[in-house]
């Protein structure tokens, strides 16, 4: 049972998918569905005995191709649509243990090439308006399989938060003729206090109005709408930046830090998006060692975050952690 139900109060779609209640939940390592299938052992999601990087359709998706007919009729105020889209799993490595940050740089670069390929292919589908690439890391974020992997959602609409960002960026571009993200990056570089990592083509910083204490924005210096336009040297720099910040996260408190890594980029709906500038957002849940920042009533019901710290105070901690992580 799956469909899109329009939330008329908020002006956004909710996806229903009852099949997800059945998804595999913390299997023992010997029964990991993302490991290669070993001779004589049970067949995993990957039938071959070894692989480099694999991508497959999620067995428990939120979006379907083809999508089933909705189980309820909509109304004028509350329309219902078929949940036409794709949900893919991206398995980073055949190794069961480890993390994204612990992958060799060359493997993360290869992964970036795969993300680029998936963005292009899924974005070219007539029914796909937006490709959301993400990784949920840690059981605190709801991860049910420990094997290093990420996901892709190919949406039949532009998701709410990217849509809001793009609308604001479009207004800024119409008013100034400039990219909002480029202008914000220029402000961050002029100030400097919140920047935590830089390399040839990419910058990472804690945003001025960060919602989480260790929230990060990682982006190319040059305005690049999506992965499709990224050059190989840019992708290499991006891979290096993502490795540096994720190792830094784990060095912060000396333990794996739960986070969400989310790519925001240009929609694939055929429209013109002058304000689109690829950026990777990290939402790490921890506010200090052993303590989580909860998305509680004010954040969930009011929509505005309370950050218990100042980004200017957290950036030096993060810079030191990145240095420790790289050592």
């Amino acid at each position: 049972m799956s469909e899109l139900r329009w939330n008329a109060h908020l002006g956004e779609w909710t996806m229903t998918s009852s099949v997800r209640m059945e998804r595999t939940y913390h299997p023992p390592a010997d029964f990991c569905p993302l490991c290669p299938t070993k001779p004589g052992a049970f067949e995993t999601e990957v039938p071959e005995p070894d692989y480099d990087i694999v991508v497959f359709e999620n067995r428990f998706p939120s979006l379907f191709d083809p999508a089933p007919e909705p189980v309820v009729p909509g109304t004028e105020l509350s329309p219902v649509e078929r949940s036409q889209g794709r949900c893919e799993v991206v398995v980073y490595t055949p190794e069961h243990s480890g993390s994204f940050g612990q992958l060799p740089l060359e493997r993360i670069y290869r992964l970036a090439l795969v993300w680029q390929d998936r963005y292009r292919e899924l974005g070219a589908l007539e029914f796909v308006d937006y490709v959301l690439i993400f990784e949920n890391r840690g059981r605190e974020v709801g991860v049910t399989l420990d094997h290093p992997h990420g996901q892709l959602y190919a949406f039949p609409f532009i998701p709410t938060i990217p849509e809001r960002e793009l609308a604001l960026a479009g207004e800024h571009h119409a008013r100034t003729g400039r990219c909002l993200t480029c202008d914000l990056l220029a402000e961050e570089q002029a100030d400097g206090r919140r920047i935590v990592f830089e390399n040839e083509h990419c910058v990472a910083y804690i945003p001025f109005a960060a919602r989480y204490p260790y929230e990060l924005m990682v982006l190319p210096r040059v305005c690049t709408p999506s992965l499709a336009e990224m050059t190989e040297p840019q992708l290499w720099s991006l891979a290096e930046a993502l490795k540096a910040v994720t190792l830094g996260y784990d060095a912060l408190f000396g333990e794996p830090l739960p986070y969400m890594m989310i790519f925001h980029q240009a929609p694939t709906d055929g429209g013109v998006w002058p304000g689109a500038h690829l950026h990777v957002e990290f939402h790490p849940l921890q506010r200090s060692a052993g303590k989580l920042k909860y998305r509680a009533s004010v954040e969930s019901g009011g929509g505005n975050f309370i950050n218990d710290s100042l980004p200017e105070d957290k950036a030096p901690e993060m810079r030191e952690a990145i240095a420790r992580g790289a050592a």
Binding site: E45, V46, P47, E48, Y51, D52, I53, V54, V55, F56, E57, R59, E106, Y109, R110, L113, V114, D117, G192, R193, I195, E198, N199, E200, E232, P233, L235, W236, S237, E240, A315, P316, R319
Partner: protein, 48 residues
């Protein structure tokens, strides 16, 4: 206090020249699986 680096960021080594390849596998239930591999890519020289 943050001190801005005076030097330009160290450029990373050149990305490896690889060619992305993929192989499609379709399961009995119809779901697809893509095996990605990366072959060394020969760089063309421009000798005249």
């Amino acid at each position: 206090m943050y001190e801005k680096p005076t030097d330009k960021p160290t450029p990373p080594p050149t990305p490896p020249a690889v060619r992305l390849e993929r192989r499609l596998h379709t399961r009995e239930d119809g779901r697809y699986l893509l095996y990605y591999t990366f072959a060394p890519r020969e760089e063309r020289s421009c000798r005249s």
